[in-house]
């Protein structure tokens, strides 16, 4: 087990800079998720840590030792690829034993470690099979088994669940999490799926355009997004964002959006006249009487059983609302929108940075 440290890490392909000086630390035993839209540099960063890409600038250290010039195989890491990258001509057991054989481990040790990994991952019945004879989930487990037998300092996962169907993805998510809780190995996990990031991570690094937008625990990012990008990236359905200006009307402060719609403000700071983005999560909105709250009209009703998702039009803005009940409303109904106290996030329109706490 080990800590990992990035310091002003940069990456350029030719003259194109894809990573602009990233720095953060991963604690010993931590499950760190790098998340961001495709092209944000998260995979590149992981591959630099793995030694598959050169580091153009800055340093990466594992367990306090700078590894910029250390070969992949000597970094004591193990990686699980999106495409599994199993050796097609080797059995499951040989796939898992390959790295140990290359390192000239004792046959007895190899056998023990493979058996142990197979047991952890429920792969016992498949040890003699070839990858082509396995299902997607089983292949994914073999790929993990290959990493486990190494007993490395750091596990690296590069979008390992992207090739699986939705149901299996949820199941494997749980397995990987359970595995981490059992082995407590430092883990760096790359995904573009914010739900995966939220459910699995100890801490999340949100990346965008080769920069770190915010680092924090899942709920920290959810409750206190540091900027508009994080606010809209984390959470599903995404946070509603309404552009407007801070105004004092009838003694109380509001954000006035296009069409004169007034969105109430509580204690949130933000100076009068400031152009802001008003953010509120779908579950912090509720349906009230037509004369209460922000006037709106229902466009779409999507019942999912446990919850109901409503798409409503308020002025020029379309807003999503999630409620646990089964409101008796239908498209075309005029309603009012109530907003939970203290649930509003304000961002500066120009910089996108959070205003206030």
């Amino acid at each position: 087990m080990a800590s990992v440290s990035f310091q002003s890490v940069e990456k350029a392909f030719g003259s194109t800079k894809v990573i602009h000086g990233i720095g953060f630390d991963i604690k010993d035993g931590e499950f760190m998720v790098l998340v961001g839209p495709s092209g944000c540099g998260k995979s590149t960063l992981l591959r630099m840590l793995a030694g598959l890409e050169e580091i153009s600038g800055g340093t990466i250290a594992i367990d306090g030792k700078v590894v910029n010039d250390v070969e992949s195989k000597d970094r004591d890491i193990a990686m699980v690829f999106q495409s599994y990258a199993l050796y097609p001509h080797m059995t499951v057991a040989d796939n898992m034993a390959f790295s140990l054989k290359l390192r000239k481990a004792e046959p007895k040790t190899i056998e023990e470690r493979v058996a142990k990994a197979a047991k952890i991952l429920n792969l016992d019945p498949y040890l003699k099979r070839y990858p082509r004879e396995l299902s997607g989930g089983q292949r994914q487990r073999v790929a993990m088994g290959r990493a486990i037998v190494r007993d490395p300092k750091v596990f690296l996962f590069d979008e390992p669940l992207s090739n699986l169907d939705a149901k299996l993805r949820v199941a494997m998510r749980g397995e990987i999490k359970a595995l981490h809780q059992r082995l407590k190995t430092t883990t760096v996990y790359v995904t573009h799926d914010q739900v995966e990031a939220m459910t699995m991570a100890d801490r999340i690094v949100v990346m965008h355009d080769g920069r770190v937008e915010q680092i924090g625990t899942p709920l920290d990012l959810y409750d206190h997004p540091g900027n508009l990008f994080v606010a809209q990236f984390i959470g599903s359905p995404a946070m509603n964002v309404i552009e407007g200006t801070v105004r004092r009307v009838n003694g109380t402060r509001h954000v006035e959006a296009a069409g004169g719609v007034l969105w109430p403000l509580g204690n949130e700071t933000g100076s009068e006249g400031q152009a802001v983005s008003y953010g509120v999560r779908p579950e912090h909105l509720r349906v009230t009487g037509a004369n209460d709250g922000v006037p709106a009209e229902i466009i779409v009703v999507e019942p999912t059983g446990a919850e109901t998702e409503l798409l409503v039009q308020a002025g020029t803005a379309q807003v999503t609302l999630v409620t646990h009940g089964r409101p008796q409303v239908s498209p075309g109904d005029r309603i009012g929108l109530g907003i939970e106290q203290g649930a509003v996030h304000l961002f500066d329109q120009k910089t996108g940075q959070r205003i206030g706490a």
């Binding site: 890491i77 690829f81 990258a85 390959f98 290359l102």
Partner: protein, 282 residues
């Protein structure tokens, strides 16, 4: 009923094309076969089946009972050993080159491959004389190495290209996984790459082997001692006589054609898959 009519008409169309093609290809082979089982005096009789079919010709060939056939077995062996050597050497050169260009991404590798392919712009026949001269300079004339090296030169560019295309299709993550697992480039080559390339390797090995087995021009030019020449060249020498023993020529030709047919049949699964492997960019 309608469906079966359609099926019949479709089958009929296929047969209409298939039968002429079959006759077209089989007729010369049938002739070859007829000659080989006909006695000398009946060879040109023009019957569809000889009056007195005989295996006497095979006896003469296998027993080396004719002036032109006095080294039949030796020449057959020459053909064999040269073909196998060309096959193996081509594989060695082309696999290494393809691995270096496609997997290790050696700088300038692609340019070198394209240069090699460039040699195909010049017909092999035009290169024969320069090649003869080159082998003379190296003192290899009349040495079987001359033919082996010449055939290797001709077979290698195409082989490198096909293998490079095939290995481009292997997922690059495999290399990366092996790298992280601790494999050196040589271990990657030996333990992962070769196993995955096997179909293409069989196809290319067979291609080079058959190319050398069937070669006449270079074999004729570079080897002249009758204990050195291949059976193909020996067959050509039959024509030097005023009264060529056609039935023996055809018999030997038939025997000479059998190993390639057998090899092709044994590996046809790989040949089709392997030689077209690089054909389409996917």
């Amino acid at each position: 009923m309608k469906l079966s009519w359609r099926r019949i008409s479709k089958e009929a169309k296929l047969l209409l094309i298939g039968i002429p093609v079959l006759i077209w290809t089989m007729l010369p082979i049938y002739h070859l076969f007829l000659f080989s089982i006909s006695p000398k005096e009946a060879a040109f009789a023009g019957h569809l089946w000889p009056d007195h079919p005989t295996l006497r010709n095979f006896e003469i060939v296998f027993g080396e009972h004719h002036y032109y056939l006095s080294h039949f077995w030796l020449q057959m062996w020459n053909s064999f050993i040269i073909a196998v050597a060309v096959g193996l050497l081509t594989l060695f050169v082309a696999t290494g080159a393809a691995f270096a260009i496609s997997r290790l991404k050696v700088k300038g590798g692609r340019a070198i491959m394209n240069l090699a392919l460039f040699t195909y712009f010049i017909p092999a026949a035009f290169l024969a004389v320069p090649m003869y001269k080159t082998m003379g300079v190296y003192g290899l004339l009349n040495n079987q190495w001359a033919l082996i090296l010449a055939m290797l030169t001709i077979a290698a560019p195409y082989s490198i290209w096909v293998l490079k295309q095939a290995s481009d299709k292997l997922p690059y993550e495999l290399d990366e996984a092996a790298k992280i697992d601790g494999a050196s480039p040589l271990q990657l080559f030996r333990l992962v790459y070769l196993a995955l390339m096997m179909p293409s390797l069989v196809a290319i090995g067979t291609y080079a082997l058959l190319l050398a087995w069937n070669e006449y021009l270079y074999a004729f030019l570079l080897l002249s001692n009758e204990r050195q020449i291949t059976l193909g060249v020996a067959l050509g020498n039959f024509l030097a006589a005023d009264d060529s023993p056609w039935e023996l020529l055809m018999t030997t030709g038939l025997i000479y054609a059998l190993p390639p047919a057998a090899i092709y049949y044994a590996f046809k699964r790989y040949m089709v898959g392997g030689l077209t492997a690089g054909a389409v960019k996917t």
